[in-house]
Amino acid sequence: MLGGLGVLAGRLVYLQVVEHGRFTELARSEQLGKRAIIPRRGAILAVDGHPLAISLQTYDVYFYPRYPGAADARDRIAAELAPLLKRPVDELRTQTLSDGPVLLASGVQPETAAKISAAELPGIVLDPKWRRYYPEGSLAGPVLGFIGRDAQGLSGVEADYDPLLAGKTGWVYYERDASGEEIPLGFKQVDPPIDGADLVLTLDRYIQRVAEAELDKALKAHRADSGVVIVMDPKTGALLAVVSRPAADPTKLDLNDPNLQALIRNRAFTDLYEPGSTFKIITLAAALESGRVDTGETYYCPGYVKVGPWSIWMWNYTALGPANLVDFIRYSCNVGAVHLARRTGPADFYRVVRDFGFAERLNPEFRSEVAGQVKLPSDSTWSEVDLATNAFGQALSVTPLELTTAVAAVANGGLLMRPYLVKEIRAPDGIRRFEPTVIRRVISEETARKVTNLLVEAANKGSSPTALIPGYRLAGKTGTAQVPEGDGYSRTKFIASYIGYVPAEAPRLVILVKIDNPKDVPWGTTVAAPVFREVASKALAYYGIPPTEKPR
């Protein structure tokens, strides 16, 4: 008897003392339920504060047929919901015949949701949902990115800054009855959500729109496959416009589209390409910075140059004869590029190339950014011909962002700035502003000035007449790059590009235009330079930058 009582007492002690915590927790989990309160996702704003993406509350309308009285009220439900959801009665009636819960409508506005709620229809449940709106439509789609069904950022700024935009989920803990329903006036604790931060971008919606319109026009006119335009402020590294085409429209996004990845990626950050002659700006800067070449340098161009067993030809198979550095830029002389690279020497050439930020991710906040690829003399596969071809932008790959940032460094007196897209974060606990950041000095101010002057002189002598803007001094370079294919280069596919900055004496805008595979003419001067001119001239007028020369 005593033994039995002892066992009972021991069991009681075990349950009440030793396992107290576990059983309390079990009991609480049975008694308490919890539901999430999804916070408002932060808005993405243009530089002027105008929203580009904003979240608004909407409702999904569900029908639960097993809810008491729901099955018998199908006719009434269909009749009352039809005018509110603007759907045919028969269609709704058919949908409600389902055995399980069925989604009748999504994205229902709050006013309509209030009317549905007031109708007290059995089995009808309103599920609040945040929905992304784009007041500027598809503007800057690939830059903004999009969010998935679970409201998580999947690409672009939405993905890069997802933890900030998403905020913190809140929770409601409540006492529930045997059926799991909340007990009215029972225990209730609310852990409120924290709304996501708003992001103010550096993008200017006017410049962005102009750049998108001009690129679209050129892609259509030349039946090109894709294209990129970047507009950057060289003094700060702020990205004023980033256009990537083709692009998905975030307002009509089809998550089941098999080509979605190609349409949502921001090609300005992700796509590697051989920059071709636009890279000669870098070759020129490296040569002048090395001190072995000065602006008075002359060379002889016989139309080709021998590099080991290889012969490198002028792009148009012509010979310039005696040439200077303006001729090198003006005629985009490959022989001159090889000459300058050899005079610079591989050590100094590649040091400057790397210092310009090539083969380096420039902003760790851009999660999708890809680093370019440059073979170095220390690599086992590097040979002399690499130095020669790299000098005119072949056998290395860069992203449009890398090239724009590098040329912006020349425009900025030799200082390489970190490119950035987010200017300000407006979080519930305060505002954080981003200041322009200098990555490093790449070339001296004097070298930068010399490069600018040579580019201006070449432009004045007609290196790219289609890019010229009357009244403004322009520093720029065209590029017509071959596209690598197999072991060599495609004979039919080209990349037409132009990169330049205006006004050359005090640069405010660096603009890169890159157009892939135009079907009519391949030349940068015909395909890309006019886009540069249109974007630059409209941007100059928009910013009220006066001309510095009398239009000729």
Partner: protein, 149 residues
């Protein structure tokens, strides 16, 4: 030590007074408890009512905040560049500016930076240039001589 004894009547009066006092105290306590209970009930009802009111006002505030967001979004849509351009072109019959005139109050353009100190290109040697233009033939012959395809 002294023992005080009271007469029987006095003792009865004292006992009666004590009963009265106990009754009074009990009555007072009962009334107080009732009043306190009433106050507590009133307060609890008040708190519950206020709680409901607070929740109603919170819901109201959330609704108005949402409405503000909605209206701001509507304003943004109305201020969108596409719509502004459409209105300008169709309703106001505006066209895109072609020529821009910058007025310079100082009356002079800022001086352009000095030209680069580029050495002029020397006059090409006509014979050398002609020879260079046939470079492809020379290279071809070299390659043939070297037995390359």
């Amino acid at each position: 030590m002294a023992v005080i004894t009271y007469p029987r009547r006095r003792q009865a009066a004292v006992a009666g007074g004590a009963r009265l006092r106990v009754g009074g105290v009990l009555g007072f306590l009962l009334i107080s408890a009732g009043v306190l209970g009433l106050i507590s009930l009133t307060l609890s009802t008040l708190v519950t009512t206020q709680g409901y009111e607070v929740r109603r006002l919170q819901a109201e505030r959330a609704r108005w905040t949402e409405q503000t967001f909605r209206l701001e979004t509507e304003i943004s849509s109305l201020r969108s560049l596409d719509r502004v351009e459409r209105e300008a072109r169709t309703r106001l019959k505006l066209t895109e500016a072609k020529d821009r005139l910058f007025v310079n109050p100082a009356g002079a353009l800022p001086p352009p930076p000095p030209p680069p100190s580029v050495r002029p290109t020397p006059e090409p040697d006509a014979l050398q240039l002609a020879f260079d233009r046939l470079a492809w033939l020379r290279l071809l012959l070299q390659d043939v001589a070297a037995g390359l395809p």
